[in-house]
């Protein structure tokens, strides 16, 4: 069995593409073929954009967001110094909150949850730095916007404990029925949490 475009670098490109999440070997091949057919319009601009971002992207020195400057646009924006600090697990969560446009304060990205197995302790997640930041920036509210998984909730409790030395109020996201969610498709845990946290209409 011979693969035709061997020495041409095309197979290497397909392999690299197939490592991206959401793309397997088949869809990577399809994507590469689609690019090969529109080299000037699709492939060249994508290659250039990738190279530029790969060269310029860096982690924000303060919050851990990814941008192309030493300080990300959010940390640079003086109107976002609201005294509210939102702690998220991952840059993806920060982007999701920004897309929703519901939060006008600043962020701190942990980069994971506490895990002895993965060698992620408080130091690796920047928790001492977070505590120092809450004091230094006179943060009034720390919102722990972590996932509802056991690992993330353990991490949230650890952070809440560590923050008792500061005067900031500590809050967490509400649990309940998702907007547009149907009751009979919800798991028992969510249904229970929604019932316990019921409010007056």
């Amino acid at each position: 069995m011979t693969r035709p475009p061997d020495e041409t670098g095309i197979e290497t490109l397909i392999q690299l593409m197939s490592r991206l999440p959401g793309l397997g070997p088949r869809s990577a091949r399809r994507a590469v073929l689609a690019m090969l057919k529109r080299r000037a319009q699709v492939m060249a601009p994508l290659a250039q954009s990738l190279a530029e971002v790969a060269l310029n992207a860096r982690d924000c020195r303060i919050c851990g967001n990814i941008s192309t400057a030493d300080l990300c646009p959010i940390c640079q924006d003086p109107s976002r110094a609201t005294g509210e600090l939102c702690v998220v697990e991952d840059v993806a969560d920060l982007w999701a909150l920004e897309r929703a446009g519901v939060f006008r304060g600043r962020y701190q990205v942990l980069g994971g949850t506490l895990s002895a197995l993965d060698g992620l302790g408080p130091e690796e997640l920047g928790i001492p730095r977070l505590v120092a930041r809450v004091s230094d920036e006179a943060v009034t509210e720390v919102i722990l916007a972590l996932s509802a998984t056991i690992d993330a909730q353990t991490t949230a409790h650890y952070i809440a404990d560590a923050l008792t030395v500061t005067t900031a109020q500590i809050t967490t996201l509400a649990q309940g029925v998702p907007v547009g969610g149907e009751l009979d498709h919800l798991d028992d845990g969510t249904l229970g949490a929604a019932l316990r946290a019921r409010r007056k209409l």
Copy 2:
């Protein structure tokens, strides 16, 4: 609603990625984030590989396959001058046949099917060039490996007509039950074709 990494080129990259087949806006964002987290190991090599292929890839002068030389590896390989010529619609079909490793002759890629709407006539599909090639290279068999769609079959009939001026035998792929296919999941057309083309055991 503000999108944080606006002026950083990251949004542009996500938009370019989301134009690839199989990737929507969400999965493009996920793929870009995964790359951003592993810039040195994933993003930079991919950018370089893309740039190289975009710069070097070209259509084979003879068969239309995509490679990085004026003549593709198949057209350059003297052992593949078997007198058998396989006509396919698309480079993807050529690659699929090569992956299967079942054909040792050469190819001709049409680049589509006859379509007045898309301005694809015999000239655009290279059919006159195909007829000339069959005579010049003393091809003994032309295999029309086109899809079983109406457009592709119309094109196949047109090509068969055009090739009557040559002495080459004209064949087409067998229709029938796919290997591993279950009868009760097959459509009636395939079942009928398989029954009509039944053979002695």
